[in-house]
């Protein structure tokens, strides 16, 4: 495993281009584009204000930089550095900005979600979409980029509009049976739209592409409901994480629950392995090299840690949430399927130090990873079943079916990994600290060792 040197970034804005060749980072008001293999600066652009949001276009030719305070969006071209584009939203304000899937339109959401303005970079034409809903996830593009689903609210009722991204033609518009729509997501095959209600009501609706209601699913009433929803990449499963600390999996044929995964505080009666992160004193230097215990050279003041397998029963530390606060820190908030749909990683908010990995073939718990600090971010490798996670300290943790590893990031100074991103070919991970970023190149040999 090789680590690159540390670069500056601000606002956790660091993205790899869709074709995997370039890395764009924002440092205050500058946009820096590097080559991913050499990390040499290829282009440097200066924006008018501090960048709030940055996004690559789908063809990796343009980068969008949005400055919400100023209500400005600037687009930069990689091929033609002289080309410039500036969109000024004026007095109407700007809350969010994104590319369309074809990379030639920009959708800006105005302040107070009054409307969505669709700017065309080909014709300078403008279209407006009225009454978009301000919710957790109100807009989603299908995977092939041909359709866009938008949640709207008219006359105190939720409805969904499906647009054809080619010419922004409204294909379907229908009301949904939700009380307060919280989010929508296309299935990876683009044929089914999953719509879920806010946490006050457990309701998941499945609509076909042409607007027909296929099925409704509601596990229980009254208690706080859905917290997170995720499709499996094969579109076979829909995982629903809820506030009752359970994950329910629906199948794509009958849209009924096939299995329910629970997150108990005491784990027993399971064939899963429980890995626990154990910290060692800094002075010790381990010379051994085993699957579960690989530590790189570290600085004097950082503690080394390794994973140890615990024997059952194991108690996972749980934090009881404050009952008087809204959106309590309880329930399954993050669901992530691996790229081959074989594994599902979940995080239960009242056990923030543990990540649970479930095997979808056996429909059972595969592993539990427990750490000393709360897990901040975890993502699957886009190509293979390998999970990378970080807990806000200077270590990178990797799990694969062969074992798991805790790697110290060999960076001088205080580098705390706040979040991470995988490169699209799965060979490297971008680690983002507060104001810094570092690339970690995976070693294929070690990866084989891990997988053996």
């Amino acid at each position: 495993m090789n680590f690159s040197e540390v670069f500056k970034q601000s606002n956790q804005l660091c993205k790899v281009s869709p074709d995997g060749k370039y890395l764009a980072t924002c440092v205050q008001y500058r946009l820096v584009v590097r080559d991913i293999s050499t990390l040499q600066i290829l282009q440097l652009y200066t924006c008018l204000d501090q960048v709030s949001h940055m996004e690559w276009s789908s063809d990796s030719l343009f980068i969008l930089c949005a400055m919400y305070k100023r209500g400005l969006v600037q687009v930069w071209s990689l091929e033609q550095p002289d080309w410039h584009c500036k969109i000024d939203e004026g007095s109407i304000g700007l809350v969010s900005s994104r590319w369309s899937p074809d990379g030639r339109h920009i959708l800006n959401t105005t302040e107070f979600h009054l409307r969505i303005t669709v700017w065309s970079l080909c014709t300078k034409a403008v279209s407006y979409i009225k009454y978009p809903k301000a919710c957790q996830k109100g807009i989603d593009f299908s995977t092939d980029g041909s359709y866009m689903a938008l949640a709207e609210r008219r006359d105190c009722k939720d409805c969904i509009s499906i647009f054809v991204c080619d010419d922004w033609h409204l294909l379907r518009h229908f009301e949904t049976e939700t009380q307060d729509l919280a989010g929508l997501e296309w299935s990876p095959n683009g044929c089914v739209l999953a719509v879920w209600d806010s946490c006050l009501e457990y309701k998941v609706l499945l609509y076909s592409l042409d607007g027909r209601l296929l099925s409704t699913y509601s596990a229980y009433e009254w208690s706080l409901g859905v917290k997170s929803v995720s499709w499996s990449p094969s579109s076979q499963f829909l995982a629903i994480g809820s506030y009752d600390e359970k994950v329910r999996i629906l199948n794509h044929i009958t849209w009924k629950k096939i299995v329910q995964f629970e997150h108990p505080a005491v784990i027993e009666n399971t064939k899963a392995t429980v890995y626990k992160e154990v910290e060692k004193r800094p002075a010790e230097v381990r010379d051994e090299f085993s699957l579960h215990n690989v530590t790189m050279d570290s600085t004097l003041f950082s503690t080394q840690s390794k994973y140890e397998i615990c024997s059952l029963p194991v108690q996972i530390p749980a934090v009881k949430p404050d009952p008087d606060r809204a959106n309590p820190k309880i329930g399954v908030s993050v669901l992530a399927f691996s790229s081959d749909s074989r594994y599902l990683a979940t995080k239960n908010d009242n056990m923030p130090t543990a990540i649970w990995v479930w095997d979808m073939q056996k429909m059972s718990l595969e592993a539990v990873l427990e750490h000393t600090l709360s897990v901040r971010c975890f993502l699957w490798d886009p190509c293979r079943p390998r999970l990378a996670l970080c807990t806000g300290n200077s270590k990178l943790y990797l799990w694969s079916p062969g074992g798991c590893v805790s790697v110290q990031v060999p960076v001088e100074g205080d580098f705390q990994v706040q979040s991470l991103k995988w490169h699209c070919n799965g060979d490297s991970v971008i680690l983002l600290g507060k104001e810094q970023l570092c690339l970690c190149y995976m070693d294929t040999e070690q990866e084989e060792k891990l997988n053996s």
Partner: protein, 570 residues
Amino acid sequence: MPDSSQVKDARRCSVECGTPPLRHFSQSSLALPRNSQSLRTFCTEHNMQECLSYIKQEVSLLSLSPFWTELDDDSQLNVVAVLNCMYDLIQLHHRSLRTLENMEMEQLKLSSYVDNLKTNNTHLKEEVELSKRQNTGLLERERQLHLKLKSLQSSLKNEKDEVQKLQNITSSRACQYNHEMKRRERELNKLRERLNQLLADKKERKQTIDLLNNLGRADGKRSLWKTEKTEAKHEEEMYRTLLSDYELRQRELALENKELRKVMQQIKKEMVSILKSRKLALKEEKQELNGMQTASDDEENEVFDSSKESLELFCIHAREKLTNSIRLQWRRLKSHVEKLDSQGVDDVSREEKEEMDRLKLEIQQCKDFIQTQQHLLQRQLSSPIDQDSASLQNDGLMLQEKMRLSEEWKSLEEQRRIFERERRNYTEAAIRLSHERKIFEEDRALWLKQQFLSMSPFGNSNQPHLLKSASALLITETEVGSLNASEMPHECQSVLVSQKSRSVSLTSSSTDDLESALCLIPENGSSEHRKSELFGDFNSLHENVPLRRKQWKESKDLSSHSLSEENSTA
């Protein structure tokens, strides 16, 4: 009236005559029987005196006043007294009658009382029974009420929990609503502010876009006008996507179905074959099996049928037939297996028993054998002692022999190792020698050249010296090397040679090395020497030990010799 009195007397006498319990006789018959016969039986003319005496006796017993005078022998009966006596007797009789009456009354009363008590008793018993029954009934009711109470308590607890849960839910929902309300209020406030700002703001900044130049479309095509045609095309596209997805899914499901059906048919075939073979093995259930075979034949036919029908994937009947037939076969197989298991268990147990018996027999035989052996051994041991000593001696000799052999082996191994090393060193030395010879030849050639050249009028003094020193060194090296190679079959030899080859310029350091290396020899030699001494104590028979001693002595001498040599050279 003496006759009447006599008659009365007689009568009385008749009454009182007879058997001893006269009173009883008199009491039992309250009424005096006025039989004339009885008159005659007690008193007659002949036994008057006796009767009289008897009566006197009785009267005196009854403590009545005597009615006779006892002056004369012929006791005169005082009529008055007799009458009084009779009157007393009558009174007595009346009294007794009265008492009898009273007693009878009493008895009647008592009997009625007893009857009364009896009835009371039965009544009370009945009452007790009734109350007992009532008691058990009440206890039963109490128990049921207890149970009901418990169930009610548990349901109350459940309800309480439910209430608590609902309260929690409502509180969380209320929390959520409040949060939402606050958020919306904040948003509203922001909107208001914005509105005010906009109203106050004269300058309205419009939305603008500033592009350097228009971009081409991503796919390179020209954009089309929005017409009905395009709309229709979009619809078509959408339905096509949906249809293709459905088709794909259907195809996958059909494939899966086919696979599963294949597997099921295979299972069925195998089950049929297994059952057929079982049929051959079990003879008792022939009839059953015959019946089954026919059924399985039918099944086979069915199999063929269904394979024909497999093309029609949606034939429900074929599917049902297949699943039903498999279920049937499986049930039969299961029952067969169970039967076999139970039989098999018996067989197994039988086999186990046989095995156990065999093993036991074997054990017994072995034990007997051991015992006979022991007997023989003891007999042998109990024989005279000199045999013991001889055997001990033999044992001792054997041990010695063994030790000697092992030592010899060790020494041989060591020698072999040494020889190997020597050989290696020889080869190395030979190689080095050839190298050195080459160098020497070159040097010589150089020297000769030099000499030839220096035959000039201006001869350089420096060069020949240098060359000399180099060659001289080489000569000493080769000398020592050869000396070491021939005379010292030892470990440090290689050390010496290697040391020499390294340090060409400094002789002092090499001699130091030599000495340090040579210092090893006496130490090693001493340890070896000690070993040889030990051997000397035990084995007087061996010849190799003194030889070895000699060997080590020789080496020691050699070492000292070489030391002295080196000292001389240094």
